[in-house]
């Protein structure tokens, strides 16, 4: 775990430019997960270390203690404030209660949270966020107050939040599939993007499913090898002579390799399966942004409709020279401003999204490239170790058969 932590912090600092004094940098490390509380109340807290030269920050280094729901708070705030930007995804809550405090789950989540913060920190817009600053700097009590002060839907418990997130998703699919709203954007380019996003999620989910299964298979093969090794050793004990020795050596090697396989399974889980899962989450985050875009579009259209009605109404009033003209005109102007604001908001989302897509693609090419590299490296290393282990037995077996 220690090695992973150092690796992570290395790549964490990678987001920071080479000469920290000259260029602004913001590097964050999530470490030391500790279990706090008991029973249902139990939770994991993390140490969040920030190193920066941003003038807005209190100092070059700050350490705070945060828990998962704090991260959720940050994500939700950013989502509310930065419409059109793909907010980096958070790792999901553990679906299965009994894995919640398994060291593997905790480590995986720690890694994912680290990535989450560093993604925000390396995003040109999000890194300026006031909420990020709050998250990284305020003490625990303030954080807790901020978290509980949240009004509206975000005041709810994290479990409900997940439900809301899911609702948003299903709403998104409703919106995009045109089930609910007649008002929908229909530029061919955006259609293509929507189609791409939805298909991509399916494909990635499938790949991730197989990757997870591959991890499981590694563990199973490891277990089988260990059992096989034991059985072969026992069988060797029946033989006694040099053949028996050969057997027991084969058995020992099997057991050694079993440990290697287990290690590789862990490596695979952390460095290949988790990035894939992160990829899936990122796509889901895009979908959430799309839902916002659809809402903005709908709002804009509705306003345009209302404005049109008001305009007709105003024209009518002007013709009849009613007393209400002045009032109506003010109302119309207000509405018009609101409409322009909505259009601007929508256009901002559109503009941001097209930038974000490019960022997303580049980021993912890099992430997945690293994941692929880790996969290939791990597999090659494991296969080599397997080959080496077995190869070392060959001379012994040769000697044994020569004696026969």
């Amino acid at each position: 775990m220690a090695t992973i932590t150092t690796q992570r912090s290395l790549s964490g600092s990678s987001q920071s430019p080479r000469s920290p004094s000259a260029q602004p940098f913001l590097g964050i490390t999530v470490t030391d997960p500790v279990k706090l509380g008991n029973g249902v109340q139990a939770y994991i807290s993390y140490r969040v270390i920030t190193k920066t030269n941003f003038p807005e920050y209190q100092g070059p280094e700050k350490i705070v203690i945060r828990r998962y729901s704090d991260f959720v708070w940050l994500r939700d705030r950013l989502f509310e404030k930065y419409k059109g930007i793909f907010i980096p995804p958070l790792p999901e809550k553990s679906a299965v209660e009994k894995f919640r405090f398994s060291s593997e789950f905790i480590e995986m989540r720690r890694q994912a949270l680290d990535i989450f913060l560093n993604r925000i920190a390396s995003h040109p817009e999000l890194r300026q966020s006031e909420d990020l600053r709050t998250f990284l700097q305020v003490d625990e009590e303030t954080m807790e107050r901020a978290r509980s002060q949240e009004t509206g839907i975000f005041k709810k418990k994290p479990a409900d939040l997940m439900q809301i997130f899911k609702d948003v998703q299903s709403k998104v699919s409703d919106v995009v599939l045109g089930k609910e709203k007649p008002l929908e954007e229909s530029s061919p380019e955006y259609e293509k993007l929507k189609h791409y996003t939805f298909e991509l999620e399916d494909h990635l989910a499938e790949a991730q499913k197989h990757a997870f299964r591959l991890v499981k298979r590694h563990r199973e093969l490891g277990q089988s090898l260990a059992d096989f090794g034991k059985a072969i050793k026992l069988l060797g004990a029946c033989e006694g002579n040099s053949l028996g020795k050969a057997f027991s050596e084969l058995g020992s090697k099997s057991e050694t390799l079993s440990i290697k396989l287990q290690k590789e399974a862990h490596h695979l889980l952390m460095k290949f399966e988790e990035p894939l899962k992160d990829y899936v989450r990122a796509v889901q985050s895009i979908k959430a942004t799309m839902a916002e875009r659809a809402n903005a579009f709908k709002h804009q259209c509705e306003l345009a409709e209302t404005i049109k009605l008001k305009e007709i109404n105003l024209d009518k009033l002007m013709l009849t020279r009613s007393d209400k003209v002045g009032e109506a005109e003010i109302e119309y102007r207000e509405l018009k401003a609101e409409g322009e604001e909505a259009t601007r908001r929508f256009e901002t989302i559109v503009r941001l999204m097209s930038e974000e897509i490019v960022r997303f693609q580049e980021q993912k090419t890099l992430d997945i490239g690293i994941a692929f590299h880790e996969l290939a490296k791990g597999q090659a290393q494991m296969a080599n170790e397997i080959a080496d282990a077995w190869r070392s037995l060959i001379p012994k077996l040769e000697a044994c058969s020569a004696r026969t």
Binding site: L234, F372, Q379, A380, I394
Partner: protein, 651 residues
């Protein structure tokens, strides 16, 4: 053996997915024209063939430099030779032979596996003696039972062509082929197990009682064909059985199998008593007889029950006395015990080997599925690509997908080889069955000896008792005979007296004539005469009564003599039975000794061959693992090298 059959299915299953993966085209450049190939690949995945695309076979793969076997080896050698284990050519052949069949039809691979298994077994037998027998089972044909079955077409069976090539002089030729059905194989196995008791005869494939519909399914027939070939090959590898008349007849004689299909069912059921003389069994009277002699008091009342109880208690006694008798061969017992432990470990190891193979297969399959998922993703990204970064990613994915699919293929091939090597464990487990039956031959022979011994002792005690009884009777007879003799003597004496009296009477009659005139004497003479007559009359009556008594006595004694004779006959019969039983016993003892000897020889052979087989199993397993692990390592190392830019970029 079930394990083996399961593997058959697994292999079949493997081939289907193997074809699926092979049909995927992985290595074209990622420009527009490759899409159609991708699409055809995709359609093969979803198993929905596009009407326009021909059925996909891995033909295009031929001109793909990466997948063609020869260039693969070329690629491999320069990179790996310095760090790879440099196998002698023979190992390389064993390990890499499947690559030759990579583009061949599905069966090619399977056959090559069988060939190598076979050749391995044969090479072993060839090393132990110069003669070889190579047996191939092929060409299953469905045939109609000629029996007068009422339902026409109801009875069909499958015959297999069994081709033998050999240089063993006893066969008197070099090549034969006969048609045999499974029933014939059963007969052969039965005859062999009768004639070669105490040998570790390779176990016959299971009968598999299945419905006739299943019976004629292609895969069942194929499975059985493989099993039969394996069985016959194993028989031919046995140093003694390969020279047996039974096998020779089975392999050589055209037409109907001349071996008797069944021996006496009853005698086979009483397995321990196969060689017993018939009169000892199936004739309750002779068995009941001693019981009647021993327990006359209970006679008749609930005889059957008593008899059964007696038999049971005797059986129980045997059960109790078995260990001391078996213990007689200490060395054998030790070996048997060791073998039992061995068997336990073997079955454990075999089970674990199976789950290892399963796990290896699973990881290969999952790797393949992962590869397929990435191929789909590659295709998708390529089609939808708007940015260059997507194309770069797609290219990376393609590399990984290719490597994953290749690794999956290697896992699969490696697994097929692993199955082949670890099958030795299964074979030995199967052989343990043969060992068991050989040991049970031995113990049943021992039981026969014991049965005969106890039979003999009971017969002897019966004979003794009968002799004692008849000697008592003889004693009684003698006194009776003495009485008769005495009576006869009395009769003789009386008759003497009578004749004497008659003579006196005659003499008196003469004198009477002489002294006719003598009147004085007349009266007294008359009275004399009448008194002499009276004497004669008395004597006569006495004689007749004596004669009747003698007659009675003679009749009585002749009756007694007759009883004695039948008793003597019985004793003689018993003696004959004892003689026969003794013959049977000595025969059974001989058989037992022979089986013991066979057991010992076979145990030695087993140990020798086990060593050899296990060594070659371990070696094969290890070399195979090394070979394929190297290949997999290579594939991934290439990908790792190609993607190493990312880590540099990020650090």
């Amino acid at each position: 053996m079930m394990g083996f059959e399961n593997q058959g299915f697994e292999e079949a299953h493997l081939f289907s997915s193997r074809q699926e993966i092979q049909s995927l085209v992985l290595d074209e450049p990622l420009d527009g024209k490759s899409f159609s190939d991708y699409r055809s690949a995709m359609s093969s995945i979803s198993e929905a063939h596009h009407p326009l695309s021909p059925p996909i076979v891995g033909i295009e793969v031929d001109d793909d430099p990466l997948l063609s076997p020869s260039s693969y080896m070329d690629r491999r050698n320069p990179n790996v030779s310095e760090n790879s284990y440099l196998e002698p050519p023979s190992y390389a052949d064993v390990v890499f032979s499947p690559f030759g069949n990579e583009n061949g039809e599905a069966n090619g691979f399977e056959n090559s596996t069988h060939d190598s298994v076979k050749s391995e077994i044969i090479s072993r037998s060839a090393s132990s003696s110069s003669g070889y027998i190579k047996i191939a089972v092929s060409n299953p044909v469905k045939e109609q039972e000629i029996s007068n079955s009422l339902v026409p077409g109801g009875n069909t069976y499958v015959t297999y062509l069994i081709t033998t090539r050999t240089n063993i002089p006893e066969f008197g030729g070099s090549e034969y082929s006969v048609r045999r059905r499974f029933k014939d194989v059963v007969t052969l196995a039965d005859r062999l197990s009768e004639s070669y008791r105490g040998f570790f005869i390779p176990p016959r494939p299971d009968k598999n009682v299945v419905e006739s519909q299943v019976m004629h399914k292609q895969e069942f027939v194929e499975q059985r064909r493989v099993a039969l070939e394996k069985y016959l090959t194993r028989l031919a590898a046995h140093p003694v059985i390969k020279k047996s008349e039974e096998l020779k007849v089975f392999l050589q004689v055209q037409g109907k199998l001349p071996l008797p299909t069944t021996t006496d069912v009853a005698s086979r059921m009483l397995d321990g008593a196969v060689k017993l003389p018939k009169q000892l069994f199936g004739e309750p009277a002779t068995v009941v007889a001693p019981h009647e002699v021993v327990q006359p008091a209970k006679g008749g009342r609930d005889l059957l029950r008593i008899f059964k109880e007696l038999k049971q208690s005797v059986a129980n006694d045997w059960g109790g006395s078995k260990p001391p008798v078996v213990e007689e061969d200490k060395e054998f017992l030790e070996k048997k015990e060791k073998l039992q432990v061995f068997e336990q470990q073997l079955s454990n190891a075999s089970q674990q080997a199976e789950s290892l193979v399963k796990a290896q297969q699973d990881i290969g399959e999952t790797m393949g599925q992962l590869g397929l998922a990435f191929i789909k993703l590659t295709k998708f990204e390529t089609e939808e690509a708007m940015y260059n970064s997507q194309r770069i990613r797609a290219a990376d994915m393609k590399r990984v997908a290719t490597a994953a699919v290749k690794a999956s293929r290697f896992y699969r091939e490696s697994n097929a080889q692993t199955v082949k090597y670890l099958d030795t464990l299964h074979e030995y487990l199967g052989l343990m069955l043969a060992v068991h039956s050989a040991f049970s031959d031995r113990s049943s022979a021992l039981l026969t000896v014991q049965t005969l011994l106890s039979e003999l002792s009971s017969l002897q005690s019966r004979a003794e008792k009968l002799e004692v009884a008849s000697s008592k009777i003889f004693g009684g007879d003698r006194s009776r005979i003495r009485k008769i003799e005495e009576l006869k003597e009395t009769i003789r004496v009386t008759e003497d007296a009578k004749s004497c009296a008659v003579r006196e009477y005659e003499r008196i009659k003469d004198t009477l004539h002489e002294y006719l005139g003598l009147m004085l004497a007349v009266h007294s003479a008359f009275s004399d005469r009448s008194s002499a007559l009276l004497t004669v009359q008395t004597l006569l009556s006495e004689l007749s009564s004596l004669q009747s008594r003698a007659e009675k006595l003679e009749v009585a004694s002749s009756k007694i003599f007759g009883g004695d004779r039948s008793r003597i006959r019985k004793i003689e019969e018993l003696k004959e039975t004892i003689r026969v039983t003794e013959d049977a016993k000595s025969c059974a003892v001989r058989e037992y000794e022979r089986i013991k000897e066979n057991n010992r020889n076979e145990l030695e052979r087993l140990e020798r061959e086990r060593r050899h087989d296990f060594l070659s199993m371990l070696k094969g397993f290890v070399i195979n693992q090394v070979g394929y692990a190297e290949k997999i390592a290579n594939e991934w190392a290439n990908v790792a090298e190609e993607t190493s830019g990312y880590t540099k970029e990020s650090s």
